[in-house]
Symmetry: C2
Subunit: 139 residues, 2 copies
DNA sequence: TATTGTTATACTCTATAACTATA
DNA sequence: TATAGTTATAGAGTATAACAATA
């Protein structure tokens, strides 16, 4: 028998990376059933909360480069869940189509269940500390 | 002024992904100064703790696919920090060279400081809960 | 038969530089 | 001058299938 325990497991940065990879793989699998990526779902959730954001604004909030928003929004547009509404001749608001509203409802179901399952895996004593700790590491 | 606050920030999965991305970008920057990637450093730390592991065993512990270990170890071998020691005609043990021992010392300095800085960013009240919560999400 | 190391390949995410058209 | 949207490109992580050689 080989030793499969992980001597690095106690390192916070290492554990953070492993946990994020595991959870994102899990979420990607669940969202795959409605043909969406994690980043797609994130954009839909944001657009559902805040109307008439431009591509650049979405990118700033989610920390996605402007350039990387292009294929992402093209994909969502091709899927028929968002459309572009001109603000002026330079900027466009990203809005949900009616199919997008339906898709968002399914995204909310899936991510809501996912977030619940994630929290349930954390022992109760540590649960309330999880998000505040993570937030201290962002930005 | 546009609103740059993030309505998704309270979601545990989302915060987990954002925190991991931010911290790994930070660590990658620090390790870049000694020309190593995060995954390179992780392998060196593991090999430093456990002698004579094969490529497959390292991959199992770190959850890196066998196939993805190949370019990783080739890179470390080319950098002169590891070498392969035949176990039988099928398997090879991965061992540190003397340059590898030096490199590992620098990796330990950098990652030790990084882990400390990471923990320092977490408010004291939440700090002790961080790793246990993450470990509950792994595997 | 199962496992080791390997090749080839592809997809996703992320990052940067540069261009245009407009504010 | 600065910003919005875009193009092109590259680096890095991750995933699968398949093969030869060996246990």
């Amino acid at each position: 028998m080989t030793d499969h325990t992980d001597p690095l497991a106690a390192l916070p940065g290492y554990a953070l990376r492993r946990a994020a990879n595991a959870m994102m793989a899990e979420l990607a699998g669940r969202l795959g059933e409605i043909e969406l990526r994690v980043s797609d779902a994130t954009v839909l959730l944001l657009v559902g909360e805040r109307c008439d954001m431009t591509s650049s604004e979405i990118g700033k909030v989610l920390e996605i480069q402007r350039a990387n928003m292009v294929p992402l929004l093209s994909r969502l547009e091709r899927a028929g869940v968002i459309e572009r509404k001109p603000i002026d001749r330079k900027s466009q608001a990203i809005v949900l189509t009616s199919a997008g509203v339906d898709a968002l409802a399914r995204v909310r179901d899936i991510t809501g269940q996912f977030e619940q399952d994630l929290l349930d895996r954390i022992p109760a004593a540590h649960r309330a500390h999880f998000v505040p700790a993570l937030q201290a590491l962002i930005g």
